[in-house]
């Protein structure tokens, strides 16, 4: 595989040393036949140019049986439980085979499975989905959404755009910097250490400070009615959740209770 990847590189130029499109440079490509998972590419009988080899391999890898199984398992792990059973995985694989890898069909199958088994297994959320879920429910806009980002290559993004990055770093989930190339580990044990739980309480404790950064027209009055509204709208067992949130008196503490309830911490 490494041999097939040779020759693909960023195009360097004096003007743009920061980022650029990936291009294929034939002079850097390793010649000869390559064998991947029992299949040969660029054989004497079937010559291929270097860039075509890569697309041929990607196509074959995507259609490999293990690829379907791997992705289906990952989807179940993300939405349902750390150790999904074969019954959860199978419908997703079937949808994949039937639709020949059409993503909307795979997503539909995943959602169906997630609703079916979600109540039995409550998955503890990673900080990023937890944060977004909180922001959506509480209608918080203390960091910018993608609609307001201005991406200028070579320029350091302004402070307001990077705010969300720092919050996630504090929550132990620095999105652009997983320590391993296979990304963050999507199991509960990874995210339930004491310090990471403390980070969530600390973050929720700052909600009121973040309110100061929100434009006035986006703010609400955070009274009893506000909490009642969002809880009746979003929860399957609202009485219980309301009791938990209203066990605290001040608005600041109600935010802490809300964000750290089991119903919000888990799917």
């Amino acid at each position: 595989m490494a041999k097939i990847l040779t020759g693909w590189a960023k195009k360097w130029s004096k003007k743009n040393s920061w980022a650029g499109p990936l291009v294929f440079q034939p002079e850097l490509h390793e010649m000869g036949q390559k064998n991947i998972l029992g299949k040969s590419y660029n054989t004497k009988e079937n010559k291929m140019t270097g860039n075509k080899q890569l697309f041929a391999v990607i196509k074959d890898l995507c259609n490999h049986k293990s690829c379907r199984e791997f992705i289906a398992k990952k989807l179940c792990q993300h939405f349902i439980t750390d150790e999904p059973s074969q019954e959860m995985i199978d419908p997703i694989i079937q949808a994949w085979v039937k639709s020949d890898g059409f993503l909307p069909e795979i997503h539909k199958a995943t959602m169906k499975v997630a609703f079916e088994y979600g109540n039995k297994h409550k998955k503890f959320l990673m900080p990023e989905p937890w944060l977004i879920q909180n922001a959506k429910m509480l209608n918080f806009k203390h960091y910018w959404g993608p609609d307001r980002y201005v991406f200028k290559p070579g320029k350091i993004p302004p402070k307001r755009e990077r705010n969300i990055q720092w919050i996630l770093e504090d929550l132990g989930h620095p999105v652009f910097k997983p320590s391993q190339p296979n990304g963050f580990i999507d199991n509960e044990e990874e995210w339930t250490s004491p310090e990471l739980m403390i980070r969530r309480m600390v973050y929720a404790n700052q909600f009121q400070t973040y309110l100061k950064n929100i434009r006035r027209e986006n703010q609400s009055t955070y009274d009893d009615e506000f909490f009642e509204n969002i809880i009746y709208k979003n929860f399957s067992n609202p009485e219980n959740a309301l009791k938990t949130v209203f066990s605290a008196n001040s608005t600041q503490n109600r935010f802490v209770m809300f964000a750290n309830m089991p119903e919000v911490l888990k799917t």
């Binding site: 504090d170 391993q180 250490s193 004491p194 980070r199 929720a204 066990s247 209770m257």
Partner: protein
């Protein structure tokens, strides 16, 4: 006061009984601490513990040679930034294992760090760390403390661990935490309850401070002094990957070695008498090439060194089966003649009071590792 013969006898017997029971318990329960410093990026063993009197080294790395060395014996020295370690060496409380590595020769940081923590042979196969499995074997639930933010893989494999890495902002008041606990209790969330109990029972020593290694190591020395507190502390130092500008007495690698020395210094000063019941051990995923590259740095290699300090060491020594610089591994790296996992297992055996064979069997799947407990540690 009404003192009858019977009540007097009962009382004194009770004292005798309790006293008699306690004595052997106290004698056996000297709390021994293990401090692990993970050196990420690949520490250069030949910079930290340079070899003296091998003329060959000059031809390999003329820009990286040290002007000053803190002499250990006729063959080896310490880098000048490791001055605390050198002082401890003079007191018989520092040792080095040289030309050692985990049995991994593919030179990838990711795979290497994974194997250095799991103790396995195939990257990403194991989901637990060797220290976590060792703690489980010794039945020491909850005695591991990581001073890093994600829980390191090294400590996985046991139900309850603790970590401490101070946040920038303030926690909610304790009443609110208690109310959250009530909510978790009502929802019978066992796992969340456990975590919140750990948080609520945190000692005062585990509050405040900042995220610098200096502050963290000072905190750790206080936390480890607590006779009922954690016995294991795990630090992370990143940035040993000096592909360019490695430097010699000063420079990229020297700065990192200074950080190791700061941690050891703070632990030595902070632990006081408890330092005699402590062992500090460094891990790294691989060493670096013997030859310098065009940018005055070094590439990923194989054999490196393990630095150790603490009163649990038998004496100051450089333990090595020195392979020399004439025959390099794949014509570029220092050979590794000692499987580092043997050192890890021996250290665990000394600190956790477990038999080496037991650790070899249960933690390292009966791998072919040698026992250095007798040579290195007080048993």
């Amino acid at each position: 006061m009404n003192c009858t013969r019977r009540s007097f006898l009962q009382g004194s017997l009770a004292t005798l009984f309790v006293g008699g029971l306690n004595l052997p318990l106290l004698a056996a329960s000297v709390k021994k601490n293990l401090v692990i410093i993970s050196l990420r990026g690949g520490m250069d063993g030949l910079t930290a513990v340079p070899v003296i009197g091998d003329p060959k080294i000059k031809s390999y790395r003329s820009e990286l040679l040290l002007d000053q060395k803190l002499k250990l014996n006729s063959d080896f020295g310490f880098h000048p930034k490791l001055s605390t370690l050198h002082n401890l060496w003079k007191k018989g409380k520092a040792s080095v294992v040289h030309a050692t590595s985990i049995p991994y020769t593919q030179r990838s940081h990711f795979d290497g760090q994974n194997l250095m923590e799991t103790g396995g042979l195939v990257p990403y196969r194991e989901k637990t760390g060797w220290l976590g499995r060792g703690l489980k074997l010794a039945n020491l639930d909850g005695s591991g403390l990581a001073l890093t933010l994600p829980m390191p893989l090294l400590l996985r494999g046991i139900e309850q661990n603790n970590n401490f890495y101070p946040a920038h902002n303030t926690m909610p008041r304790i009443e609110i935490v208690k109310k959250l606990r009530t909510a978790y209790e009502g929802a019978s969330e066992e796992k969340l309850l456990n975590i919140i109990d750990v948080i609520m029972n945190r000692p005062l020593t585990m509050q405040g401070g900042d995220q610098s290694l200096d502050s963290l190591s000072k905190k750790a020395s206080k936390i480890l002094q607590d006779p009922l507190g954690p016995r294991i502390a795990v630090f992370d130092i990143e940035g040993f990957d000096t592909h360019s500008g490695q430097g010699n007495d000063e420079g990229g690698h020297a700065d990192k070695l200074e950080e190791i020395d700061t941690v050891i210094k703070n632990l030595y000063e902070g632990l006081g008498k408890e330092f005699d019941n402590t062992l500090i051990l460094t891990l790294t995923e691989f060493g670096r090439t013997v030859e310098q590259n065009g940018g005055y740095g070094t590439e990923h290699g194989y054999g490196s060194a393990i630095l150790m300090a603490g009163g649990l060491l038998k004496k100051s020594q450089v333990l090595t089966d020195w392979p020399g610089l004439n025959k390099l591994f794949e014509h570029r790296d220092l050979q590794s003649t000692i499987d580092a996992r043997g050192i890890y297992a021996s250290a665990m055996s000394a600190v956790l009071d477990l038999e080496f064979e037991q650790i070899k069997k249960n933690v390292f799947w009966n791998s072919d590792i040698s026992n250095f407990s007798e040579q290195l540690f007080k048993t």
